[in-house]
């Protein structure tokens, strides 16, 4: 049966994960009590706080699964999973380090040179070094392989990069980008455009790089346009294999798409709603809480299975696409389902925390099913897994 590609072994239970979960919970309670952060929706995009990221690094909660020689802590994927979901559920400000810890670091571990790893990974694990994803461009969104940013070798063996990347979250706070560039013309045939693509590790402070803000609809500045104008990237900043960019991006996307942030972006809203349902005892509200929780529990099991598969060295790109499709749909549905059973208008100025959470979740909602691959693209990947294309 063709659905085999979607089936993954269950994640083994982990005592260590439950232990670190309690430690993180305790830490977050103390930080909240001390007022170092306040809970918000979707903070893995919008909650930039380098000080907070460094605190997590100091406690060993970044780069958790990486080898110790690169500043990691050699802990399991389940332990890392517990840490990340606790941070998301609390709506903590984790955006600064999120991309670096989630996918850039693992990408460097897999494809980076020894000196790239030695130089950068310990700084990511310390919560001091932040990354952006350099994939989408002004004219290339879902059709990623159509990118036009080019890199050519100059006489010194360095790369000269020209082009522009967009939707680069928090480029204005970040140190590096892993930038997908075209280094050779596309090949023949329908998959030919996947050839000739390469990933470069780019220091965002290099001359010729301009970071322009792109404000999202509520005025928030998270996204940017990053323009490359004859940027000279040292030759040894090639990441992995020249021309293997497409395969490397595919591997990176399994990390990008499968984590708990793909169904917990709106958890702070659900938590606020839970308080409301507990206080009212209203059977209709309790039923909605139960229904949404059942969906979240299913997503969590799927996501945990993918984490375990990544830990085993597998590349579950199709299940990762599936969990992101189902998970981000859920994130949006939380807004719709909650607002149907509470008598609270959504407003950022609401005196009611539920009204504010509804407003934040609603204003960020269009992004959930777009970022990291639109749900239409994801469904196409799932359809491929079903043997349909």
């Amino acid at each position: 049966m063709s659905t085999d590609q979607l089936t993954l072994a269950p994640a083994p239970p982990s005592e260590a994960a439950e232990q670190v979960r309690l430690e993180v919970r305790q830490f977050l309670a103390e930080e909240l009590a001390a007022g170092t952060f306040t809970t918000h929706v979707d903070t893995w995009l919008s909650g930039v706080d380098p000080g907070f990221s460094r605190k997590l690094g100091a406690r060993g909660w970044l780069g958790m699964t990486w080898p110790k020689e690169y500043g990691g802590h050699e802990r399991t994927a389940q332990e890392r999973y517990a840490v990340t979901e606790e941070l998301l559920a609390a709506g903590a400000p984790v955006a600064a380090h999120w991309i670096a810890d989630r996918q850039s670091g693992p990408n460097l571990l897999r494809y980076g040179t020894e000196s790239q790893r030695k130089e950068i990974l310990p700084r990511i694990a310390a919560g001091e070094c932040y990354f952006v994803i350099g994939m989408s461009e002004p004219d290339s969104g879902s059709d990623l392989a159509s990118i036009r940013t080019r890199a050519t070798r100059n006489g010194d063996g360095d790369w000269v990069v020209n082009g522009a990347k967009v939707w680069t979250s928090n480029a204005h706070h970040s140190h590096y980008g892993i930038v997908l560039v075209r280094t050779a013309p596309p090949g023949e045939g329908p998959r030919g455009k996947h050839q000739g693509l390469t990933q470069l590790l780019v220091d965002l402070s290099l001359p010729g790089i301009t970071v322009n803000p792109i404000r999202i609809l509520d005025g928030g500045h998270h996204f940017n346009e990053v323009v490359f104008d004859d940027v000279v990237v040292p030759g040894d900043m090639l990441l992995g294999v020249e021309g293997a960019g497409w395969q490397q991006v595919t591997a990176e996307l399994a990390y990008e798409r499968s984590g708990p942030e793909r169904f917990l972006s709106t958890w702070p809203l659900l938590a606020e709603f839970g308080r409301r349902a507990a206080a009212s005892g209203d059977p209709g509200q309790l039923a909605v809480l139960g229904r949404l929780s059942a969906r979240a529990l299913a997503l969590r099991q799927l996501s945990l299975r993918i984490a375990a598969a990544l830990d085993r060295g597998e590349l579950p790109d199709i299940p990762a696409a599936l969990v992101k499709d189902v998970g981000t749909t859920f994130e949006q549905d939380v807004v719709d389902e909650v607002r149907r059973v509470v008598d609270v208008p959504a407003s950022l100025d609401s005196p009611d925390p539920l009204g504010r959470a509804l407003a934040e979740a609603q204003l960020h909602a269009p992004g959930y099913t777009l970022r990291g691959g639109t749900n239409e693209i994801l469904k196409g990947i799932v359809a491929r897994g079903l043997g349909l294309r």
């Binding site: 979960r21 039923a287 139960g290 059942a294 969906r295 529990l297 997503l299 196409g380 349909l388």
Partner: protein, 358 residues
């Protein structure tokens, strides 16, 4: 993916191959021949200990039997026997009826139990009242009945009723599976008093059994639909080459996969005796029921008019799923149970309780 259950699955499939699903009627309300073959092979006692008369094996084996039969639309009370009534009867320290004879479970209606002896433990009770919505009423030889205990006592009495000679009213679910009532007119039967937590566990088992059946049936529905989309040609292309159809199939796959992951995890929670098993079963039942909405609807859409006919196999599974989601506690009931359970632990923050469910 290879598993320890491959052999049992292969055996059940082999037996199923000789028993095509059929439209259930008053004259032929179940698949007696299928049951006989399963019983001969010892499959109606899987997961029940040998010393109690069962065939031995683990919960995972019993679940594999139930899943395979659900996917094959087998009209036999195996889910009730292996996952609900059998384990409940044994947990209550009651004698298990011979597994060759179908055993079902009655959870609804108004039945009261009065003790007819002075024993504290398993003893004898007189049951009076009507058990309603009894799966396989009129078919099952024995019924494990949950009855209201005498006034002033908490919990319920679980009693094992020999249904031979009892009148069963005929009512069926959307798939024609018997769901009638049993009138108990002062019947003296063996029974045991269960504390409230044990009663909750019996109901959770029933809900989880339906979730297991739904999950397996929906996987089969998806497989059939993918297969059909690959075979049916319109406009010179198989349906599965159209992006609109691919989207529908991917949506179905998302629902099926999410449901399977949750149901598997809930089964494991039951297996290890987790104290959150009632909430886990509630979540599984709610999620499975919700998946039925999308999967059955889109399966019929992709199959087109032929899938809407009685001659096509699709309805054997979609009609069952449309009923199973309402049975053993409606989705609304279980959704409330889950919601109330999550806020009960800590009204101020549902997250810790959420992470403890599974």
């Amino acid at each position: 993916m290879a598993s320890d259950q491959d052999l049992v699955v292969a055996t059940v499939r082999e037996i199923l191959a000789g028993h095509e699903p059929f439209v259930l009627t008053a004259e032929r309300p179940w698949d007696e021949g299928l049951w006989a073959d399963l019983a001969d092979a010892g499959l109606t006692g899987v997961g029940l200990p040998e010393e109690a008369g069962g065939s031995g094996g683990e919960l995972a084996d019993a679940v594999a039997v139930v899943r395979t039969l659900a996917a094959g639309a087998g009209a036999v009370p195996v889910a009730e026997q292996l996952l609900v009534a059998g384990p409940a009867v044994l947990a209550a320290d009651l004698d298990l009826p011979a597994p060759e004879e179908p055993l079902t479970v009655a959870l609804d209606g108004a039945v009261t139990a009065e003790p007819s002896d002075d024993g504290d433990g398993p003893g004898r009770f007189v049951l009076t009242g009507t058990a309603t919505d009894v799966p396989w009423a009129g078919v099952a030889r024995h019924v494990a009945v949950l009855a209201a205990p005498p006034a002033g006592i908490e919990g319920a009495v679980l009693a094992v009723v020999d249904a031979a000679g009892l009148d069963a009213s005929r009512a069926v679910n959307l798939a024609g599976e018997p769901r009638g009532s049993l009138v108990l007119d002062g019947v003296g039967v063996p029974g045991a008093l269960l504390p409230p937590a044990a009663v909750d566990l019996v109901r959770a088992r029933a809900a989880l059994a339906r979730a297991v059946q739904i999950s397996a049936a929906l996987e089969q529905v998806l497989a059939w639909t993918v297969q059909y989309a690959g075979e049916r040609v319109q406009f010179g292309r198989p349906l599965g080459k159209f992006q609109a159809i691919q989207v529908e199939l991917a949506q179905m796959a998302g629902e099926v996969t999410a449901t399977a992951a949750l149901v598997d995890a809930a089964v494991q929670a039951l297996d290890r005796g987790a104290d959150t098993v009632v909430l886990a079963a509630a979540a599984a039942k709610v999620r499975a029921g919700e998946a039925v909405e999308t999967v059955a609807k889109l399966a019929h859409q992709v199959h087109g008019a032929i899938g809407f006919t009685q001659e096509h196999r699709l309805h054997h599974l979609t009609r069952r799923c449309w009923s199973w989601r309402d049975e053993a506690g409606t989705e609304l009931t279980w959704a409330r149970t889950l919601g109330a359970g999550l806020v009960a632990a800590a009204p101020d923050d549902v997250w810790p309780a959420f992470t403890r469910v599974l």
